[in-house]
């Protein structure tokens, strides 16, 4: 077993809350996000996600819980052979929904994140910021209870980072809890929000 990355953490992500998860590189931000997203099990301790103890979950239970959690990966993870529209609609498609049921919702969301003109573009021709917004739209399309974003502004310039932040705030106002993992102090200074600071495997709170 390797070194203990995280220890003695006790915290709660409240409904409709907005917080930053920060700390130096290697502090364990991504590992903590992975645990929240049910992609990593802790060696010990208790994690309750959306009212379920993750230790008691079977693999069959995971998809239904994951559908209530939106994730924005640092490297976007868009499918290169699909258009912006198809990538954003993917979570609904894999749930077996008919396209006619969700087409308008997807179009509206893509316009909301400012990609209305890039609806039918493939990821290969999108800029870093556009890919980031497409990834955010995909995470939001099924109205998750919580959004986890890993360094969502890591690949974009300052003006676009501010725009994305406004997007997250607007989303939060509509009822989604938001956790943004970042080490961008400039970004955090723009919002008066709770900060979870990871350092040496421990967590401190700045409300």
């Amino acid at each position: 077993m390797g070194p203990e990355v995280l220890r003695d953490l006790t915290f709660e992500i409240r409904r409709q809350s907005f917080q930053f998860l920060t700390g130096p590189s290697g502090a364990g931000k991504t590992s903590l996000l992975r645990m929240l997203f049910l992609a990593l099990k802790p060696t010990r301790g208790l994690i309750t996600v959306l009212g379920r103890d993750v230790a008691t979950l079977s693999r069959k239970d995971l998809p239904s819980i994951r559908r209530r959690i939106g994730v924005v990966f640092q490297d976007f993870r868009l499918l290169d052979h699909m258009t912006t529209y198809e990538n954003v609609a993917l979570p609904l498609r894999v749930r077996g929904k008919e396209e006619s049921e969700y087409r308008q919702d997807v179009v509206d969301l893509i316009k909301w994140v400012g990609l209305g003109e890039r609806m039918n573009a493939l990821p290969i021709v999108l800029s870093g910021g556009e890919k980031q917004r497409a990834a955010i739209a995909r995470a939001l399309i099924d109205q998750p209870d919580i959004l986890l974003a890993d360094e969502p502004t890591g690949n974009v310039d300052a003006p676009l980072a501010r725009r994305l932040l406004r997007l997250f705030l607007e989303l939060n106002r509509s009822g989604t809890a938001v956790v943004i993992a970042t080490h961008d102090l400039g970004l955090m200074d723009q919002v008066d929000a709770r900060r979870l600071v990871l350092s040496d495997g421990r967590l401190e709170f700045y409300d």
């Binding site: 991504t30 590992s31 996000l33 992975r34 997203f37 049910l38 992609a39 990593l40 099990k41 693999r59 995971l62 998809p63 239904s64 994951r66 559908r67 994730v71 990966f73 640092q74 993870r77 868009l78 499918l79 052979h81 699909m82 258009t83 198809e86 993917l90 979570p91 498609r93 894999v94 749930r95 077996g96 008919e98 396209e99 006619s100 995909r138 099924d142 890993d150």
Partner: protein
């Protein structure tokens, strides 16, 4: 929701999907249709299926031939009439034929005419044989009842008495050697076929896994947007079943066409001495229904193997993802 309502909802959803497909409004496939790895996999499957189908066909041909030789032992003998001073060959042949026909257990007898004899001897004596100038023996082909064969010793004596130049040959010695050889060839063929099938299986499995490795990111994305494992596995299974079928049908079809062409050419050239030699060994050189059935089973097996390998690879990959997230990879 009641069961009836749930069933009707499923039916409506299916009808809608069908209507969408009929209108041609197809969405991009979740697994990309064509990439280099997919084309390479199809090519590998086609080549391996072709080789395996050739082996199946050849083993089937040799096996059929061996069993036909075995039957030939019991259903045909020949009477050879050697030329001698003062012999009236047509009369001698007819006498031998009549004696054969009168023997109990004989179902038919026919004289091998000059043209057929000429074709038999052409490889050694050329195509302008003068039967009057050369002491060429002639044959009477005698068919016998396999269930109630004649008494060969009695028949031999009767023939000697009426036509001293006649000799009865029941081919037993050389045909049994031929059958032993053919059985050995069949055994070797089955061994080679086993090796080819093992090689095909391994090639298909590893090529599929290779092609799948290029799609790992798709499995991960589908997984993290909340797709059920069964949904992901089905998408990949369907895609790889199509690739496997395309390759296997292509390889198997080429093999079948090759067999049909060879059969056709041997049939067309049946009247030549060379074809007679081939026919003597392999009959019409066409594979029987067992050969074609074998090739079809082979095609189905290879396609199923490809689909199953992709499903297993996806399932294993999903199990890995749940232990270690790809986020940091």
């Amino acid at each position: 929701m009641t069961d009836a309502a749930a069933s009707s909802a499923v039916l409506v959803a299916r009808a809608k999907r069908l209507a969408t497909r009929m209108r041609g409004e197809r969405q991009t496939a979740i697994v990309p249709a064509g990439n280099v790895a997919g084309r390479a996999l199809t090519t590998v499957i086609a080549i391996m299926t072709f080789l395996a189908a050739l082996t199946v066909g050849t083993v089937s041909l040799v096996s059929d031939t061996a069993s036909r030789w075995q039957n030939d032992i019991s259903d045909e003998v020949t009477v050879q009439v050697k030329p001698a001073e003062g012999i009236d060959m047509p009369t001698a042949l007819e006498t031998a034929r009549q004696i054969a026909l009168q023997t109990p257990g004989v179902t038919g007898a026919s004289i091998l005419d000059q043209a057929a004899t000429s074709r038999l001897l052409e490889p050694w004596l050329g195509d302008n044989i003068d039967f009057d100038a050369l002491p060429v023996p002639r044959l009477v082909i005698v068919s016998i009842d396999t269930n109630d064969p004649p008494n060969f010793a009695f028949m031999r004596e009767e023939l000697k008495e009426a036509v001293p130049e006649a000799e009865l040959d029941d081919h037993r010695a050389w045909v049994s050697r031929l059958v032993t050889m053919a059985r050995t060839v069949v055994l070797i063929g089955v061994f080679v076929l086993s090796l080819v099938i093992v090689a095909t299986t391994m090639t298909v499995v590893f090529a599929t896994r290779g092609a799948m490795s290029g799609n790992r990111h798709i499995v991960e994305v589908l997984h993290f947007v909340g797709a059920q494992s069964g949904f992901i596995a089905r998408e990949f299974e369907r895609h790889f079943l199509r690739l496997g079928l395309m390759g296997a049908v292509a390889g198997g079809s080429v093999a079948i066409v090759l067999f049909v062409l060879i059969g056709y050419f041997t049939e067309v050239n049946r009247q030549t001495p060379q074809a007679d030699q081939i026919s003597a060994l392999f009959g019409s050189f066409t594979i029987g229904w067992t050969g074609y059935a074998g090739v079809i089973i082979l095609i189905a097996t290879v396609a199923t193997l490809t689909a199953l390998t992709s499903r297993l690879t996806v399932t294993r990959h999903l199990a890995e993802i749940d232990m270690i997230s790809p986020v940091e990879n």
